[in-house]
Symmetry: C2
Subunit: 350 residues, 2 copies
């Protein structure tokens, strides 16, 4: 069943059928009704490719998760507490608005090419990019294809410095800096003076923000930052485990450890407990993300909640808006975090 068949049945031309389908104003109500009825009756669905070829959108958005880290386990990204909820919300929100979503993971430059192709071949109307590391080239490449783009977790200043054409770009962030400050000050208020950190991936905006906030907050409160309490974790639990064991071997432990994400926090807890260290009696732990696991480990993990649901929803709404309006001004939204206090921190005050 093609538009031509509908046209015949309705006694009009394909042009008119098309006008009805696309909701153009210049069709009398009566004609519109008639055509609509025939369409309904026959469960007619316009061929999406023909529409796309003729210049219409595809009602499909892309969701691309970048994970180009040499030592990362390649195939666990959607079980990752960070990506899983994004997929979740993005798919549901987009679906609810009548959009399909095309998913592709980027583990390698090859994958990146495939994603570029998806844009070039016009398979999608726009894309959401998550996990972008500090590399503006990707972003400008994508942008060059002319399709709208939404970035989750990206440093705005980099975009601005590069003077990219930002007309169909939008950035969604969380206030990780403030969230980290809150977490660190919570520990300080508990009486902690020796506060360590497991850093996230520093090529990542959130990785840098969380570390910067840690540094600045300690400085602000006149507390020392010991190199041997600053561990590199790259957001990876294996690294966190290894680094914590190394710290244990060195014989020195801070009284509190801020972990740049929950995966690392939980891994650190495992390492500590296995070495006979008690949490929170011997050491307090704070995580970041408030992943599902956080409330299930023991002791329950105090963590900074990342508003990942809201962020994902905003990303979809933004991309759809950009797809539909042609373009709009560059925009950026930043969502607040929230410290969720559980049982992994102890007060030293009494």
């Amino acid at each position: 069943m093609r538009s031509e068949d509908i046209a015949k049945l309705a006694g009009v031309s394909r042009s008119t059928v098309s006008r009805v389908i696309n909701n153009y104003p210049n069709v009398p109500a009566a004609t519109r009704e008639k055509v609509l009825r025939i369409i309904e009756q026959h469960h007619y669905e316009p061929n999406s490719f023909a529409r796309a070829l003729a210049g219409k959108g595809t009602d499909t958005i892309g969701l691309f998760a970048i994970s180009m880290n040499e030592n990362e386990d390649e195939s666990r990204i959607y079980q990752n507490s960070y990506f899983a909820p994004i997929v979740d919300i993005v798919v549901d929100t987009a679906n609810a608005q009548g959009f399909y979503v095309l998913i592709h993971t980027i583990y390698s430059p090859d994958d990146f090419q495939k994603v570029k192709q998806a844009f070039q071949q016009k398979r999608i109307d726009g894309g959401i990019l998550v996990g972008t590391q500090r590399d503006i080239n990707f972003v400008s490449d994508m942008l060059g294809e002319g399709a709208p783009l939404v970035l989750i977790d990206y440093d705005i200043t980099e975009i601005i410095n590069e003077r990219l054409d930002k007309d169909h770009l939008s950035i969604i962030n969380s206030r990780d800096y403030e969230g980290t400050v809150e977490a660190i000050e919570y520990l300080i208020n508990l009486g902690h003076q020796e506060i360590g950190i497991i850093k996230g991936r520093m090529s990542t905006f959130s990785g840098r923000e969380r570390f910067l906030a840690y540094e600045n907050t300690l400085k602000k409160h006149g507390l020392p930052i010991h190199d041997h309490f600053v561990l590199s974790g790259d957001f990876l639990k294996e690294n966190a485990y290894r680094e914590v064991v190394r710290m244990l071997d060195s014989g020195k432990l801070p009284t509190a450890l801020f972990c740049s994400n929950d995966a690392m926090a939980i891994s650190a807890m495992d390492a500590l407990i296995q070495h006979g260290v008690t949490i929170p009696d011997d050491i307090s732990i704070v995580g970041f993300d408030d992943a599902l696991l956080a409330s299930h480990v023991s002791p329950k993990l105090t963590s900074v909640r990342l508003p990942i649901d809201e962020m994902s929803r905003a990303a979809v709404e933004k991309i759809i808006e950009l797809c539909q309006s042609g373009q709009s001004a560059f925009s950026t939204i930043s969502f607040p975090t929230q410290l969720i206090v559980r049982d992994s921190c102890k007060s030293l005050s009494n």
Copy 2:
């Protein structure tokens, strides 16, 4: 840049360019090389819609997760320990083979329509359906669209009884029956005689299999099945929690409880612990799925590992095979499970 441009540059016709792109044999090596070179040089990508319109495939497969359960929390499906790894593996495996994947969740009949449309509009070459409940109509509807279909977790006998055209259908299952038998006999060997169950969703193949195996195994060993130890959980943690609390209130507890999935097992553990019941001293718990959480709760959960990764990979390989070969015979694969013994069960023997 269109195929015509490539043709001009290469001094051939669009027909020949097309032949090269589609790897047809009737092109001399020299011509092929020449065309290929030009394509490379200009980073030419054939428009996917034009190809599709002209009758070629779309190199896209659909992944559709059905979750039409009234009382289920609507937007958590990909964080679900069952679906998350499927998304994971399906996306990665498909991507690695050069296929894109379109994801849509089915919460309502409306969503189901959208998925049917995806088939009708030829947006995808084939689809993977997961979470299908006992409703053959869906399956036959999809099959009616003529596209290949792979079902994960579906009772083959239903398909056979319906005499559906199975030429482009494939089913991927796990041996849940055997897995459950192994789990129950493990409990029996530990000395348990009063073994309860929290049932899964009985409209689901795996839900029925797990229950059936439970029943048959107890019978086989001459053990009683008490109605009040048979709880309905529908695979949902809220239900499991409620039912366990109800059982606690009744004052009678089995010595062991088999839970049809880990989500319910963990929820049951929460309920029991909160009511002062100690695991495994007062009651032994076995789960099913071996979800990520299983090894993180305390005590660590003994669970039947579901080979979901292998199943997902097989589903993708099968669907791609079906897409490419046009069609092949009906096939079905069933993967073995494995009992992972951890700390949630106690021996009563001594």
